[in-house]
Subunit: 486 residues, 2 copies
Amino acid sequence: MNIILLSGGSGKRLWPLSNDIRSKQFIKIFKSKDGTYESMVQRMYRQIKTVDPDATVTIATSKTQVSAINNQLGEDVGISIEPCRRDTFPAIALATAYLTDVMHVPADEAVVVCPVDPYVEEDYFEALKILCERAATGSANLVLMGMEPTYPSEKYGYIMLAADQVNEPGDEVAFSQKTWKASLPDEVSHESGNATLGNERERLLGKCNYNPLGEIFSKVSEFREKPDLETARSYLAQGALWNGGVFAYRLSYVLNKAHELIDFTDYNDLLAKYGILDKISFDYAVVEKEPDIEVMRFSGKWKDLGTWNTLTEAMEEPVIGEAILNDKCEDAYVINELNVPVLAMGIKNAVICASAQGILVSDMQQSSYIKPFVDKIDDRIMFSEKSWGSYRVIAVEEGSMTVMVTLNPGHGMHYHSHKLRDEVWTVISGEGTAIIDEIVYRVKPGDVLRMRAGQKHKVIADSELKIIEVQIGEEISVDDKEKFPF
Amino acid sequence: MNIILLSGGSGKRLWPLSNDIRSKQFIKIFKSKDGTYESMVQRMYRQIKTVDPDATVTIATSKTQVSAINNQLGEDVGISIEPCRRDTFPAIALATAYLTDVMHVPADEAVVVCPVDPYVEEDYFEALKILCERAATGSANLVLMGMEPTYPSEKYGYIMLAADQVNEPGDEVAFSQKTWKASLPDEVSHESGNATLGNERERLLGKCNYNPLGEIFSKVSEFREKPDLETARSYLAQGALWNGGVFAYRLSYVLNKAHELIDFTDYNDLLAKYGILDKISFDYAVVEKEPDIEVMRFSGKWKDLGTWNTLTEAMEEPVIGEAILNDKCEDAYVINELNVPVLAMGIKNAVICASAQGILVSDMQQSSYIKPFVDKIDDRIMFSEKSWGSYRVIAVEEGSMTVMVTLNPGHGMHYHSHKLRDEVWTVISGEGTAIIDEIVYRVKPGDVLRMRAGQKHKVIADSELKIIEVQIGEEISVDDKEKFPF
């Protein structure tokens, strides 16, 4: 399977874990089997590789996320980097060209595109495989995955099906089909007679329900924007599905569309022109104009973890980090990234999250509404994941900022200088090599290096290297940085 | 008025604001008239000096609190330092000897002793003046202040009155006396006829109620320990008062008692022998053996701010520090000593407190029960007030600790060395003079000083001086410190 993961923007709805440069998909919040925590992107990557070890995974993202992706997934993953923000059509076109021209995937193969942030299980990726296969071999130009609604939501778009493919209320057979589930061969509970479990593919399809014609793919009639509650109810009555933004197509299909709309030769040319491309959405450029679209129902686990109340539902344990909860706490979740403890007493139905960025204490319901308040908060970046490790601000004072810098073994930062600040490095653990204005120093714990404004400097870690960096200057800014080759 | 303020031990019930070395009385949580925050001890000292500018104030305390007292009250306040912990009789005897021998107060004057931590208004100190005056001029050896109970509390000791001095239930005159209040001359509401507002003293006595005999002092019959609820109710029916630990006596009275029990000549001799004194309480040594004790009723504001639910009641505004509360919050209090924001959403009847020590999020009722949980928490001191300023731990790692040191202008730390750690100082603001192994350095922002284990060092601030201190060593402990004269 070829898969493009869309790794989107910054998330303020999960403040203080997410910030302007750490998007929610990089937060390590999910406990994996070995007891360590993994992020959404790590979890999804692991799931894909479990379901299909040969999958070609490409992450379509912006420049700011590349360090975090390499840090969390290693260097093997494909990354299609958008040089600047355009809309979804240029982004998907670029990633598609990346697959053919950089990853050398034949243009008659199909690819499935899906967002990186829903919380899903492996059956989701089994379904994506089927979707991808259908796109490669079927006649439809686009094959979507439609999520079976569990309530009349106002926050999703809806996929409307052709009338003959929709269950009628009270239709017993249709109903039993809708509820038919079989996640493992031995657990098949086949409540109606007209869906045939003929082969391995259909067994894996456990959670991809059949339409009333006994097909797993239905014809799409149209798309609807986020509705109000009453409209959402009527959509559900019409058998509509949530639009999860998951779709598959043959590479050639989107490349042709791209060539129709954009004058470019190949991936590198498209990349070079990216900044001058029109902002246009994939929906507008492709989906709305395409008459031949199919959708596959999916009723397995699919959760949008965009807000604290949904994110906490996916936590296997109520506490991550150092925290004590007394026995009067109920439905209380604590995520503590600080190195001091949280004590929660008698807290009910709430989330507590402490990071270097700030502290959130929110009633679960209210946690959906934090964005306007977070917008008011000074958005100084207090921590950041880099390709070489990470940094965390530990003290901010007038005229100075103190940072803990951690370099991963074998990694080094860019050779760079600052115009408006001096820096003092005190090595607290690990060993490595520092270079200041072309002079090389071996460093170990207790060593101190002092860089005046304008002096070029970098450090490379042998073992994990931790440094306390004191920045001193009238104006301290992340933008005050000039990089040099070395 | 002479007054001894008993400034007691460490408080875990107000964690994370209080810790093993910052007792609750030093937490700056009360908004004063000029908008700055003051601590319990600062508030009380200011109130005393307002009521009686000539008051001789002596704080009886342990060595660990001297820095914080000098830092918060200046150098003028008298401090009777207990070299080690004995019980209340040695502590009060030492402070009494301090008054006569160090402060040169004549032994026939009286002193009033009171704890430093109740939350009171100025009428309380007006009452203390009267108490002190009665002890000096009256016949009783001890004059107590009894707090008029507002509910049958199980957490206070009770002062029982002689039978003829107690109001009978249904006694209309007595009842009206008990509720008689007059805090200011113009606001006198005199509901019964037999209490005479004859003079200035009685006007000030607004909140010191009269007993049924029309006297403001009653004879004490006995003392009772903290009762259970039912017993407390019966005490209230008998007209008993809460024992707030406030009492006055002539200096000579306690000095005589001390000489009876301890072989010493004067203050310095008592101080020298302090470590070998028996642990004995003032109640056991003096109060229980004294037949001639009077009590004065007090029904003004008197709150024990020992737990979060009582402390928050005394907060003038629900937020101290950087915090945003949305409009769905009710009865939510935030004290944030960190330099990142707290966002509270829909939090009701709860306290949120964040300090370098940790983060508490507690239902108001449950906040009384934090102690056993705090006992479990690693009690590494993350901040401390010193006579020369303060320090705050900003990062703890294996083999290192990073601290922000702030020196007040004109102050300097002791000349000292460490056996097991190196230190690196990076000056981030202010100017001063550092001394390392007898060599003097002028320091300014950006300067770096490096002290190897064993090297003697100190720094003195000209202007407020801030330093990032990185401590590096296998074993980092506050006990690893040798002081030298300089």
